[in-house]
């Protein structure tokens, strides 16, 4: 994993000292809130409904054990003993006090973490595949390039005041687990005619009030030219992106209004100017960064087939966990383990300080000290020896983190909603909890199969509802909460935006409405191997609309 160099450490420490001074001056009344607000937002500090919310960056979702232990310490010492993992693979604390923030930042700096650029109209945390460097289907490990993008985008002097926030995601595998087509820029590893590995560049994707699927702006950009090409896109966006209306300020609107060919022409013109200049990425530098992500000392193990059927007979819960929570590893004898943060009836994405400590211990002992945060609000142990799986599972049971529901209907993405968020127009966590309880039976979840529910408490879509196979959007209507249901969204390489099939539902009617959709799918699927999303694509809206609203 990447380690701070002298420059990184000096930069983060200087920023920590600077913000401490700004907080002190704010509390002393030397600066007012209008002056302080942009400063605190640059350091990830929001004000929400009940208190401040402090958002800490987890670069490309990668953590070491001591970093997670530090987050546990912060949760226990300065917050209320838990943290909330987000769809940007960051972590949020919901109850800090302003006067404690400088000390929290100092603690973070001790473990090479910070909260810079977790808010504001700048380039946010770059995200990637949670199985990067481990997945069997990977063309290339995207983490070195993600780290290079982090360095390029941190406090970039031109891009600290963009028209709006800007999000980049990349994947080194053909299976898109990073939702790259719903980012301002998405990168996917690709080969050119000579077989060299570079990047497909997608631009103008996003969710929010105007969901759009990114468009392919360049089928191949080499590593050497990647930063210059990204800089060219950002320059075009910074120059022409709308600043008159925040709801039309994302690059997706610029691409949509101007057209891809126009934007491409502008980007190419800019690229022609700066290509070969200071942003050229020499192979030696890529190699230097890649060395930080070298393989851990994997043992030479035989390829081991796990007899899940047998394990399910011996211990159904363990068998289910093996069936759902493992991902194939590129090294024989190893697997990646997803730790579900979706226990039945609990808020998605939350972990207590004790659980964070427990996961840190497990990662240290059984995953070469490495952890990942997923955009689906779970954690991952990327490199676990198959022979250690039972021990890891038992340790997760002890930490109450043994839910074997990854990829199933109760593995729900959900934003904090109106229970915490000042922008929300409806609650989302209670809906997630009710759905989780309704479908809690492992047999029922198995029967349903792969089905992703995503819930947002407002149109900003932090819960990614547009790309849920079933999406739920909470809105305010006549002083109450109403929930629109969409069907058919998909965040993967088969990107699709879900469709609203009719009027919204009261909160208490949402679980039954979802069950009707599920039953309609089960009744019409060709076989148990046809997932919900495939059945929806084959069947179209009609049966699902009928399931929700009858034959009106």
């Amino acid at each position: 994993m990447y380690r701070y160099d002298e420059f990184d450490a000096a930069f983060v420490n200087a920023r920590a000292a600077q913000f401490r001074d700004q907080v002190n001056r704010r509390i002393a009344g030397e600066i007012n809130e209008d002056q302080f607000r942009p400063l605190r937002l640059m350091n990830g500090l929001y004000l929400q409904l009940h208190a401040y919310m402090f958002r800490i960056a987890v670069p490309y979702g990668t953590l070491r054990s001591k970093q997670l232990r530090k987050l546990a310490y912060i949760a226990r010492t300065y917050d209320r003993g838990y943290g909330h993992f987000t769809t940007r693979t960051n972590i949020q604390f919901n109850w800090p006090k302003l006067s404690d923030i400088p000390d929290m930042i100092d603690h973070l700096a001790e473990v090479e973490m910070h909260a810079i650029q977790t808010s504001g109209n700048c380039i946010r945390n770059t995200t990637t595949d949670q199985f990067a460097g481990a997945a069997a289907d990977e063309i290339i490990d995207p983490r070195p390039v993600a780290e290079i993008i982090r360095q390029w985008s941190s406090l970039h002097p031109e891009f600290s005041f963009l028209p709006r926030k800007f999000k980049i995601a990349l994947t080194g595998a053909p299976s898109d687990r990073a939702a790259i087509k719903f980012h301002d820029i998405g990168l996917r590893a690709a080969r050119n005619g000579a077989g060299e590995i570079g990047w497909e560049v997608w631009v103008g994707g996003g969710l929010g009030r105007t969901p759009m699927i990114a468009k392919l702006i360049n089928a191949y950009v080499s590593n050497t030219d990647l930063l210059a090409y990204l800089e060219s896109i950002l320059r075009v966006y910074n120059r022409y992106g709308r600043r008159d209306n925040k709801y039309k300020a994302r690059i997706k609107i610029l691409v949509h209004e101007e057209g891809l060919e126009t934007i491409k022409g502008q980007v190419e013109a800019e690229f022609a100017e700066i290509r070969g200049g200071v942003l050229t990425l020499p192979q030696v530098e890529l190699d230097r960064i890649s060395a930080y992500f070298a393989d851990p000392a994997f043992a030479t193990l035989p390829a081991t087939k796990i007899d899940i059927a047998r394990e399910k007979i011996l211990d159904p819960a363990y068998g289910r966990w093996l069936e759902n929570n493992l991902n194939a590893h590129r090294v024989p004898g190893y697997a990646s383990v997803t730790i579900s943060l979706k226990p039945i009836g609990k808020p998605p994405g939350d972990a207590t300080a004790a659980q964070m400590d427990a996961v840190a211990d497990i990662a240290e002992k059984y995953s070469f000290d490495e952890l990942r945060v997923t955009h689906e609000q779970n954690l991952v142990l990327p490199h676990v020896a198959i022979t250690d799986l039972r021990t890891v599972y038992d340790a997760l049971v002890e930490a109450k983190l043994e839910a074997g529901n990854v990829g199933e209907i109760t593995d729900i993405i959900c934003c904090p909603g109106m229970d915490f968020c000042s922008l929300a127009t409806a609650r989302s966590i209670p809906i997630a909890e009710e759905l989780s309880r309704k479908f809690s039976s492992p047999q029922r979840q198995k029967e349903i199969g792969d089905l992703k529910i995503k819930i947002s408490g407002c149109i900003n879509a932090c819960g990614h509802h547009h790309v849920g196979h079933i999406g739920i959007l909470g809105v305010e209507k006549k002083g109450g909460e109403l929930y629109q249901i969409t069907v058919g969204g998909d965040a993967t390489e088969n990107a699709a935006v879900g469709k609203i099939l009719g009027p919204g539902f009261e909160a208490e009617d949402v679980p039954n409405a979802v069950e009707r959709l599920v039953d309609a799918y089960i009744a019409r699927r060709e076989s148990v191997d046809e997932p919900f999303i495939a059945a929806f694509r084959r069947l179209g809206d009609k049966p699902f609309k009928e399931a929700l609203y009858g034959n009106e």
Binding site: R26, I27, G29, N32, E33, L47, Q48, L49, H50, A51, Y52, R80, N94, W95, P96, K97, L98, S99, K346, P347, D350, M418, D419, F420, S422, A424, R427, I429, P430, E433, E476, G479, G480, E481
Partner: protein, 101 residues
Amino acid sequence: MEILTGNELVSGATVYLDRNGAWVEDLQQVRLFSANETAARDEAIARTKATLRILSLEIENVTVRDGKIVPDRLRERIRATGSTTPVFDRQHLTEDDHVSI
């Protein structure tokens, strides 16, 4: 009826302007402004802003039901009681966080 609400600077706690000009946690102690008290309300807003200690200062509509003050908006009812799930007590002021106008 209207009330004034905001968040205290250091704790971030939800607070209300009470009848004595203090910013307090208890919604039921709040000062109610009737439709013909806009001048008093606006003066209270100006004096509050001058303290630099109350953020997200808002005018909210409330209704008095059975002697209880109830915010009209669900969002405000959640602010007044704390998160509904997971259930957490509201943030509280510490000794140094009290603000008056």
